[in-house]
């Protein structure tokens, strides 16, 4: 395998007058979970389709596992697993038959196929329900089944298009846990599109943020948070008043201070001693209950990036 599982250079795709992907360039290192973040309509699904060779780029190129997606699309699809925007589960077939079919598609020998189906369904806790028609399963269980299908033939790369979209919190957590443990145990590279920042923060070693088909940020989540937000102090308490906020904002190390209910978020230029800030607030009549150091969340970074682009 090449060092980069995916290499994209100036990838562009137009649909008549709409440019869905606009000069995208990035590399996805092998063996990591890579988050591809963007709002709805940003070009995430089109990028996945381009990577699978289902669409041809208008310009630029993409290389997946060393194969050009335009000239070697079948080789790419042979070595990847995919969970697209819909689960693609055959609802009239049993869960086992769904996997049996795709096992046959991938040319897995019968004994290996059956053992792998049992391994995956057991791992996901649905082995006992394997004979049921998949249509009778909950959305979360179908999503798990689709994840199992994508991993079935032990591909070195899995492309997942919003795998937890539309799931309730518990189902999303379960799918995320399955994904993280399978990716870790099988050493697979995962290219994951999402607009769920919590998911990206928890799962991804690296993320790319796109908007209107263009890359606006690339890096590991910690770097992005640091780059966009800088250090932050959060204070929980009561009695945050205008005088206290004015005094705080006048300090040279403070870039912003905002109250959210019983929380005060103070953004700083650089890491600094928080004791003088707390003393200042107490002196201004604020009852301080808790002080926490932190950074901006990925969600805040994302919102900032989207607003900057506007």
């Amino acid at each position: 395998m090449t060092e980069a599982a995916i290499r994209i250079e100036n990838l562009t795709r137009d649909f008549e007058t709409v440019r869905a992907v606009d000069g995208l360039s990035l590399e996805v290192p092998a063996g990591i979970i890579f988050g591809f973040l963007g709002p709805n309509g940003a070009g995430k699904t089109t990028t996945i389709r381009l990577l699978l060779g289902l669409l041809e780029p208008t310009d630029g190129r993409a290389e997946v596992l060393g194969f050009d997606t335009r000239t070697h699309a079948t080789e790419v699809r042979t070595r990847t697993g995919a969970l697209l925007e819909h689960t693609g589960i055959y609802e009239h077939l049993s869960a086992e038959d769904n996997l049996e079919f795709y096992g046959r598609v991938w040319g897995m020998p019968a004994t290996e196929r059956q053992a792998r189906i049992k391994e995956l369904l057991t791992h996901m806790g649905v082995w006992d329900r394997r004979k049921q028609p998949a249509g009778k399963w909950s959305h979360g269980m179908k999503q798990k089944l689709a994840l199992a299908r994508a991993m079935l033939h032990r591909p070195p790369l899995v492309l997942l298009d919003e795998p937890t979209a539309g799931l309730d919190v518990m189902a999303a957590v379960a799918v995320r846990d399955d994904l993280a443990s399978l990716a870790a145990s099988e050493g697979v590279t995962v290219f994951l599109t999402t607009h769920n920042m919590v998911e990206a923060e928890r799962l991804c070693a690296q993320v790319a943020v796109i908007r209107e088909g263009s890359l606006v940020a690339l890096g590991d989540p910690d770097d992005l948070r640091a780059r966009a937000g800088g250090p932050r102090v959060e204070i929980v308490g009561r009695g945050f008043n205008d005088d206290a906020l004015a005094l705080l904002r006048a300090r040279p190390e403070v870039t912003a201070a905002e109250v959210y209910g019983d929380h005060l978020a103070i953004d700083l230029h650089e890491e600094t001693d928080t004791a003088p800030l707390v003393s200042l607030l107490v002196g201004a009549g604020v009852a301080v209950e808790e002080v926490r150091r932190g950074k901006a969340s990925l969600e805040e970074v994302f919102v900032t990036l989207m607003e900057e682009e506007r």
């Binding site: 041809e56 699809r77 995919a82 693609g88 055959y90 009239h92 077939l93 598609v105 991938w106």
Partner: protein, 246 residues
């Protein structure tokens, strides 16, 4: 390629009319062919195996059966959002196309043969005279060829309509309308000609001048050409890049 086609056929066979809501439709659709396979032999007796009457069954049964299963297989797969995942695999466009078409044609043709056999059993049971009645060889050959070509014609047209239709139901309705309207017009024309004495005489004169075998050969040749044209068109249009955007 062969294994891939067999894999697609395995999945298609498991899915035939197992989609919710389609089973009742299939049972209802089977009503006419089954009725034909039982009522006509009962009424006609030896005529069922000696005259071209069974060709009616060989036309209607595959038309209805393939006409229902093909749109469900193609437009239905897109409607249920399972097609993109299938296209994201290593399977070639042709393996998917042929796997689906062969399953549907085999199903439609196979059931037609069973219905022809039911007709034969019915006529023997109802009109038993001490020896077994069999289809006249030329009739049997015509039944087998005709029903297969009608199944292929319906499949080829069904693929093309399915690629354009939003739903399986829309594809089924358009397909049935397009395939049933020409025979209905033909029937109307024949009745119109037979309405006048001169027309009837002319028609009988034409019929008397050509043999049953000649008529069948002409029909088979026309169907064969249509089948090839439709199959080529289906192969040309069933392409990933087009399907993924459909």
């Amino acid at each position: 390629m062969k294994n891939d086609i067999l894999t697609v056929m395995w999945k298609e066979r498991k899915g035939l009319f197992r989609v919710r809501g389609r089973r009742a439709q299939a049972l209802l659709a089977m009503f006419s062919p089954v009725l034909l396979a039982v009522l006509f032999p009962l009424q006609e007796g030896v005529g069922w195996v000696q005259s071209p009457l069974s060709l009616l069954l060989a036309f209607i049964a595959p038309l209805i059966l393939v006409g229902l299963s093909i749109p469900d297989s193609f437009a239905g797969e897109r409607e249920r959002h399972t097609l993109p995942t299938l296209l994201a695999t290593r399977l070639s466009d042709r393996a998917i196309l042929f796997g689906k078409m062969i399953t549907s044609v085999a199903f439609g043709w196979g059931v037609t043969l069973v219905l022809l056999a039911i007709g034969l059993v019915t006529v023997n049971v109802a009109h038993w005279d001490g020896h077994i009645l069999l289809y006249k060889p030329s009739i049997l050959l015509a039944d087998l060829t005709f029903s297969f070509l009608v199944a292929m014609l319906t499949a080829g047209a069904g693929v093309l309509f399915s690629l354009r239709a939003a739903t399986a139901q829309e594809a089924q309705q358009t397909l049935m309308a397009v395939l049933l309207i020409p025979p209905m017009i033909l029937q109307f024309v024949v009745f119109a000609i037979m309405g006048s004495d001169s027309g009837k005489a002319r028609f009988q004169e034409v019929l008397g001048a050509i043999s049953f075998e000649q008529v069948i050969l002409v029909i088979v040749a026309v169907l064969l050409v249509l089948d090839v044209v439709l199959l080529m068109a289906a192969m040309a249009r069933f392409k990933r890049a087009r399907l993924i955007l459909g």
